[in-house]
Symmetry: D2
Subunit: 311 residues, 4 copies
């Protein structure tokens, strides 16, 4: 058993028994059903995959999907995307609308809700919602090499029924011309790609290109250029955990993107693609145990991008 396998197993064991598990999100009714006792982890490193706990249980990836829609939108629009969305941390909660008013409808970054909706609008760009959604799903199935990945319709419908805050953000951007498609189309695609269900194993598979200079390390297929992979990682580091991004960088030291379903995708550049899942969230809406598990893993493996234990 490798050091990685041992680390992953021990972390999963410790996480299973911790009493502090955060709070399961309840603002989307369908998500509130998640089991707060669940914990999964999957790490794809140079020597293969290490997984433990509920690594094969599908969960709602929610905002983790924003990494993949950003990747797709950059492929479609290139740097023109940045006319519609910024690249700075927001200093505000994930669903804040204050910043949009101050900056005339242009969201601060592609990982807060407003920014991700703008990114979805770029992908949609004149197509039917069904087509755009199909493209997003096929992209995820392709990079994860797994055609069983699916959209959980019950979650998507649950979000649509209750997603008034996101509808406010979308209409607000629309009033400034930042969205080009009908608001309902863009929101429809957004709610559905947030409702994609994946397991930790599938998510870690999907994230490999970010750990390996934009390339599938097995097939050698280039998903994005090395520079683009670096830049997506940089955005994950500075903006991937909403108003807890500074804290995640400080404690874990890896680019990562969280979702309110309790999943986090983290990248150790050149080393590993990592997915963790535990539904209980902290005050910033990030997986409580997920963050702790990643902090332990990064420390134990010496994977922080900010320096090693030995000079």
């Amino acid at each position: 058993m490798t050091a990685l396998n041992a680390a992953v197993r021990e972390i999963a064991d410790e996480m299973a028994s911790r009493p502090d598990r955060g709070e399961v999100a309840d603002y989307i009714p369908e998500l509130a059903r998640a089991d707060p006792g669940a914990f999964g982890i999957a790490v794809i490193g140079p020597e293969g995959i290490a997984a433990a706990g509920d690594a094969d249980a599908p969960f709602s990836i929610q905002s983790v999907s924003k990494v993949f829609t950003l990747t797709l939108a950059l492929g479609l629009a290139g740097d023109r995307l940045w006319n519609r969305v910024g690249r700075e941390p927001s200093g505000n909660p994930f669903n804040s609308i204050v910043q949009l008013e101050r900056e005339r409808g242009v969201p601060r970054n592609p990982f807060i809700n407003a920014g991700a909706i703008a990114v979805t609008d770029v992908i949609l760009s004149g197509h039917q919602p069904r087509e755009a959604l199909g493209e997003i799903l096929r992209f995820l199935q392709f990079i994860a090499e797994d055609e069983t990945i699916y959209i959980d319709d019950a979650v998507a419908k649950s979000e649509r029924r209750t997603g008034f805050r996101n509808a406010a953000l979308a209409n607000y951007m629309k009033s400034f011309g930042v969205l080009e498609n009908p608001v309902d189309f863009t929101l429809g695609v957004y709610f559905h790609h947030c409702a994609i269900a994946m397991s930790c194993r599938q998510l870690a598979m999907a994230g490999r290109y970010l750990a390996h200079s934009g390339r599938n390390p097995t097939t050698g297929f280039n998903v994005v250029s090395p520079e683009r992979a670096r830049r997506i990682n940089a955005l994950m580091l500075t903006c991937g955990h909403y108003d807890g991004s500074g804290e995640f960088a400080y404690r874990v030291g890896l680019p990562g993107k969280s979702g309110v379903g309790g999943g986090i995708l983290a990248i150790a550049p050149g080393k590993a693609s990592i997915a963790v899942w535990s539904p209980g969230l902290d005050a910033n809406g990030n997986s409580h145990l997920g963050r702790i598990a990643l902090e332990m893993l990064a420390k134990r493996m010496g994977w922080s991008i900010f320096g090693a234990d030995v000079p």
Copy 2:
């Protein structure tokens, strides 16, 4: 000549001839005298130092000093420091006071002005301003191994005469009990440590411990623990360039801290401590050519912390 030497020289040559040089800061009268044509760079890597341009000309390090006062304050107060200052990007300009009102006087991070003033207050903690200032200066002379580093009194006086915005921040924090010392004492030390003058060579020397797990790579002396060095680097990455921190991470991919004097200290963990200087600033108050030079250097040397060109 090493690849690093060649890179440094070519970058300095290109920077010398570029017509776009940003705007020299004029809100502190004494800083407005800087020569917009100046450019210096010094890199201390594993094979020694590479320097070019005005690498030995002293300039006002201004906010770059905040990296070193943070290091000192963490040594004095440990994690108790974080009761007085946060660890999140601010999403606001460097001298914004809005956030302080929303968060009851606790600044978002130690690198915006309010946060750095709170850090200075921790260092002062009951001592006379002269003593605290002496401690800061001696620390810099020690880690840079250069006793000629000095405080430029004309700059300090110039800031004191015009620093009403910082006085507003300090009084505001004092009203919430975030500062413990008399406001004038804390501001006096703050203005003076911002007025420290250093050359690129001295600054790169001073930053070595952040590139080498907290340790002076020559003497082996431990300045801070490896974990603390990582964490300071993480804060520099997420918060080191004010409201341009996301952009710096996106383009350069290195932890860095800028000052309105036009200096930037950047760290390539495990590889190099880098200082650049060019007085012209961009809209966010960061050195325009300094950022471009670091982007070129990081790309050419493959030093981005977010991934390499080859998987």
Copy 3:
């Protein structure tokens, strides 16, 4: 000819010839067609009606309708209305969403857009939009004693097509439970009551109850209690001109409510109900010449509520 008649005629003459006329609102396409040269005034005082200029031309009353929907909603819900909307000036533009975030979806007063949408939601309260709209229109026809008052469907449709900012406000409030009806229903009624077309004469007729302790001075019919009339007047004074309310009180000294169609209803308590109309707006979205005309009228007639020329 009475002093009032003379004043009204001379003011209308001067307004007709002034070169500074403000800017016609263009964010609702249908409103942009208004003639910037138009000016109308109608004053119903103790000795009858004085009217001049385009006093009989119908215009889109827009936000002036909020006075009447507030009156209706208070009749339906009484003081329970104030659980859903505040009574303080906003210190922000009419369509700002910032305040909603800070105060958890409760708008500051019934005259900013968000507040008026919440008031409309109270009137709707479970009915079909068509019924609620019919009630609003009949109320206006009744108090103005004029059954020809109508809703301009072209304007309503124009607003619905472009009213993304209002849709953002409505969805935002809905997310906090401040709206009870489907967002589309509430917005539909809101857009249509803003699209009511009235002339100055009709509007001055409709406002009489506010000038006369809640009562129709001709028929003696009580529309509201004297206390409620006073309170509506107080709200008009402090909040009736968005972020120009202080200026209107300072210069005119009468309770008033403006609309982006260029109309203003002003009340001289115990003395007169006044309507002016000129489509050009000032920077705060209030009729430029309308405000000036009211300032001249109040001064000349000694109608300011803040004191007379002679002690």
Copy 4:
């Protein structure tokens, strides 16, 4: 006994026995000593003065002084004053600094702390603090016809020691050039004029010019023009009770200015100058019983500026 005398006595009796008395301000230590059981009222109407309760006990007038410094500054600078301070309600607490950042150091109105400090700076305008303060005090003694009015030095010193929030506001405005004098000079005068001690009787005497078209009704001396008196009343109505100004207009219907010492000066134009005092404050920092007493008085006497009970 007149109806006014009876009303004043009955109101004072009721206020003396009410259990809900608000909270005495404690952020200025010296003010915290006030007796929460105190209540005073003095009304100067056409038939002379009616007073009851602690009408002759001196209290710290605090922000009520802003009415008189505004009057003085308008006399000195005329409409040029409005280059330094606005005329709109703030929509924020009395000591907020957020608005100053958004509007580049220009306070929204002369009655929030920042605005009153700017007004004080206009009065100071190059003079020594002692001279400016002398002028303010003499003005109050003159209009109140009472030379025993004095500045409570213990309160002034208490404020200076703890007034960090006001020092923040002053320094912030200074950074934008809105203040012309040394910050310490302006703040010194401000803290001292807030510390003026007056009784209800003295305060009602001082306010007579605002009730009588700018003129002392006894001597006929013109303090300000009728227009200026009206305008000051308008500012009191829209901005005189901080973020409770809308509520005060809604319930009381009179121009008024409150202070955290628990005093309120209210004006019934053409009818009466009224002062009430009770140290317990509501959540907006306005006298709890003072407001209730004024609501009762205005209702009983039919003094609301927004309309009468009988048409």
